[in-house]
Amino acid sequence: MSRNRFYIIIGALLVLSYLATHFVDNQYYFFAGFAILQLMVMALAWNILGGYVGYVNFGSAAFFGLGAYSAIVALNLFDASLFAQIITGGCFAALIGFGTGYLTLRLRGVYFAIATLALLVVSETLIVNWEFVGGAAGTYVLPKKNPTILGVLVVGKQNALFDNYKELLFFLMCLIALATIIICSLVENSKLGRGLAALRDSEEAAESMGVPTLRLKLFATTLSASIMGVTGGIFPYYMTFIDPLSAFNLDISVNALAMPLIGGTATWLGPVLGAVVLGTLQQIATVTISSEVNLLIVGLFLVAFVIFAPSGFLGLIEKYWKRGD
């Protein structure tokens, strides 16, 4: 679709999401919506490195958790606002992403993957042992009462932009998701994106043809990590409680990895599809059966798609489209 139409649709979705917070009363929708959007952003971020470059990240939860906990540190040290927390999360995760990449991206992709797992465990262990952020027991976050921006009441019972924090955060998550889609689309259609594709197809050939592969890999890693950090940064405010178990959970990693591989890794549409379909399935399963079944669903879908449909939903759709011609 043309660039203009793309941005118009994004804008319309953003407006729609705000209107939804006004007209929808059932809080469950915002809860489920937030969960699915979180999955979507993590999947989009994972795909920047996994799909565009071909490097597997097992430690998505590390960047997410570090984003969340750096937000906590900012809160505890500087009484940081929600906005500042999110920015902190993104910046700190970017730093860690860059560092990890710098240390391991010269090695084979396999070692980068293992290193990301290492990062996850080391981060979790460090946080568990750090009393300042609550250690293993976790820590609480109290959202500010009646916050205002430029004199306008953001959250409150009357005359506010949002009725409660869950709705505000849902809207913010929509904003982050749409912004991430825009970023991914920009990357895909740029010189950078073409370089990443060349690097994914054959790193040696790309390097020999003038593509600065290490630099591009580092960029993709840092961008991916920072988006994950932003998603983590918003998490404490949303949950009002955070502990290492939930922030560094391996489940976060498997979802971030599975959804692009199931939806399709070629463009941003794949992770979005994967997150919507799988995320919705998971929500339904949690409510009707149990929350363990979620992981089983993800695991089975992942294994099935990776074996039988390597190009994901996008690939299947393309195949059946072509068959129709």
Binding site: K191, R194, A197, S202, A205, A206, E207, M209, G210
Partner: protein, 239 residues
């Protein structure tokens, strides 16, 4: 133009290259021969920069390339094709050429011609027009080889190294590639280093031939001189 001084490379206990000394003149057509495992591809990898931890120096137009990683050497004008083709499989033939045109070629060297036009010109030279918009999976053997060369040419190099571009091709296909390379050298004065096993191609193409064996240069002269050198015969045929 290209000066290689005391180049050596070990892989663990195995010596791939030993004290290589080589000068290549601008516009030269140099053939590089030698039995399998003699170090030819390792030599190219050191020159192009895919291997950086070698001993010795590689000079290009007076500049020591040792600290430069491969993509920087490509930008300076050193380009190579791969023995086993490594096409960008998610892209069409044309898009494959756009990568080096976008990344390796300096803006001034484009001389105002858009990269799409440049790509089309190279595709035309190599007679790949029919497959220009096809993904690389639909290419035949010889078309793959041509794509490798086309991509290396799209770097707009000063030195082009072709690594066994003709392996497994039929006799007329070999002639095709030969013609392309000779024409390239004659019209643009690009230095071409050709690594080949197909002797008739090397002999008819090269102004000078170098033979490697077990990591050392054992012969360096005109094609006629090299082919009758006893050491070369021994290297290929054994005692």
């Amino acid at each position: 133009m290209l000066e290689i001084k005391n180049l050596s490379k070990n892989f663990g206990g195995f010596t791939a290259l030993s004290d290589i000394l080589l000068n290549v003149e601008p516009g030269e057509r140099l053939g590089l021969i030698g039995p399998n495992g003699s170090g030819k591809t390792t030599l190219i990898n050191c020159i192009s920069g895919l291997i950086q931890d070698y001993q010795g120096e590689v000079y290009f137009n007076g500049e020591n390339l040792n600290s430069l990683v491969a993509h920087k050497r490509a930008r300076r004008g050193i380009s190579r094709s791969f023995q086993i083709p490594k096409p960008f499989t998610s892209m069409t033939v044309r898009q494959n050429l756009l990568i080096p045109l976008e990344y390796a070629v300096r803006a001034d060297d484009l001389q105002g011609i858009s990269i799409e036009e440049q790509a089309d010109k190279i595709i035309d030279n190599l007679d790949l027009n029919e497959k220009s918009n096809q993904l690389t999976s639909g290419l035949t053997q010889i078309e793959m080889r041509k794509l490798e060369l086309a991509r290396a040419m799209a770097v707009k190099p000063k030195v082009l190294i072709s690594d066994e571009a003709m392996a497994g091709l039929s006799s007329s296909e070999v002639d095709d590639i030969l013609k392309i390379l000779i024409t390239l050298n004659e019209t643009t004065r690009i230095t071409i280093i050709m690594i080949e096993h197909i002797m008739r191609a090397v002999m008819s193409f090269s102004e000078r031939v170098i033979c490697l064996d077990a990591g050392r240069i054992i012969a360096n002269g005109t094609p006629d001189e090299v082919i009758i050198t006893p050491a070369v015969e021994k290297a290929y045929l054994g005692e």
